[in-house]
Symmetry: C2
DNA sequence: AAACTGCCAACTGTCGACAGTTGACAACAT
DNA sequence: ATGTTGTCAACTGTCGACAGTTGGCAGTTT
């Protein structure tokens, strides 16, 4: 389960920085000072620059010439644009999953849903971890490597914007229902329904992010 | 009309290298020697490495640890996977374009189609340039910046794989018909039809690339 | 001849230092 | 007080050099 174990310093720096950006340890809007971070990581500026450029290409940092790298702040228009991309990708993935899923894919999806229910009934909040796991399992079932790759990147960016997201119980419940419905459509091999449900699901999630963004 | 005019050497190197990779000046399968290319461009290895990493993130180069950067060779599975991604993105773009297009978007699309016809009647082959222009205009009409961004990257990768693509006249004609049909659906605001036509269009293009890949 | 071993050249990964640019602050003029 | 200009520190962009790794080749062994 250990993430690939990069040998190069640049690769390690990518992992560390990505973690720090996603967890908010480096807060949105803040600048990344090359010399400072390089010293903190115990490496030189060369590999660090490559790491920064890499994260920028993933959308986790924005580069400003002669100014440095910044963690992009959440923005209403950005959320909408990002969810349009996510919808395009995940709806396609849902369709493909409906026609390509194996039986073990199906079991995995049902297992994630079941664990979510268990967790919810135990009174604990629906952890984002399980939501991510569900979507991950679904795109794996779609068996389209390039689409999967892009979905992962987009979901990462969504996590980045998720900082200011309160956990609304009713929304959690709705999400779990959506997931169940999706699994059913995929089990039936009903691509059209899978796509429709996914679109509705993401539309709801997007709306919730937008409202919780307005405080 | 000058492309952004990068000030940094790394930015310039990206433009030059991208050009050389896409035109096949650096042929698929070949290695990119850092010191050699750096000298040829008159820059140091630092900026060049950043340029190489950038192109790798665009999928135009593949990185092998301690071995260097290679231009990826065309592969049947890769073509299929890439077109699944492209279909997901461009179908979504077609739907959005159908509901968001302005009148000037429509005029631009019709203009590109008309120029294609003119060119075709003049006996000249349907230039890929016009095909690209059509799809570019369409995604601009969709007004979804993040989707547009990804479509551009995917199309670039398609161009890279296009090296061994013979120009089949019947295919050219079919493509132009598809384009006309797409514009009509977008003009009518018919998102469903636009998506369907786009899917059929890309499916045909993909099939043609696959057959011309088998020699 | 085939397989193994040890060496070597070429190249990537990394570092520390220099040069050029930017934004901010202070001094000055109005 | 307000706007302008000059100066400066901090930081990014770039370079040349060193270290570690890789693949191949020659020499050796069976």
């Amino acid at each position: 389960m250990t993430p690939p174990l990069h040998l190069s310093l640049a690769g390690q720096a990518v992992d560390v920085l990505r973690e720090q950006v996603l967890t908010g340890e480096i807060p949105p809007g803040s600048r990344v000072n090359e010399v400072e971070v390089a010293q903190k990581l115990g490496i030189s500026r060369g590999p660090l620059r490559e790491a920064i450029r890499h994260l920028a290409s993933e959308g986790l940092l924005t580069l400003v010439p002669h100014r440095g790298a910044f963690v992009p702040a959440a923005d209403s228009d950005e959320v909408k644009a990002l969810f349009e991309l996510r919808t395009a990708l995940e709806c396609a993935a849902a369709e493909l999953a409906a026609s390509r899923r194996t039986d073990v894919d199906l079991v995995r999806l049902q297992e994630v849903c079941a664990e979510s229910r268990r967790n919810y009934r135990a009174g604990q909040p629906f952890p984002y971890r399980l939501d991510l796991a569900f979507h991950q399992t679904l795109i794996d079932a779609a068996r389209s490597p390039r689409i999967a790759e892009q979905v992962r990147l987009v979901q990462q960016r969504v996590v980045l914007l998720r900082s200011a997201l309160e956990d609304d119980p009713s929304h959690q419940h709705a999400s779990m229902d959506d997931h169940d419905e999706l699994v059913k459509a995929i089990a039936d091999g009903d691509a059209a329904t899978a796509s429709t449900v996914m679109r509705r699901h993401l539309s709801r999630v997007c709306a919730q992010m937008l409202t919780s963004l307005d405080h």
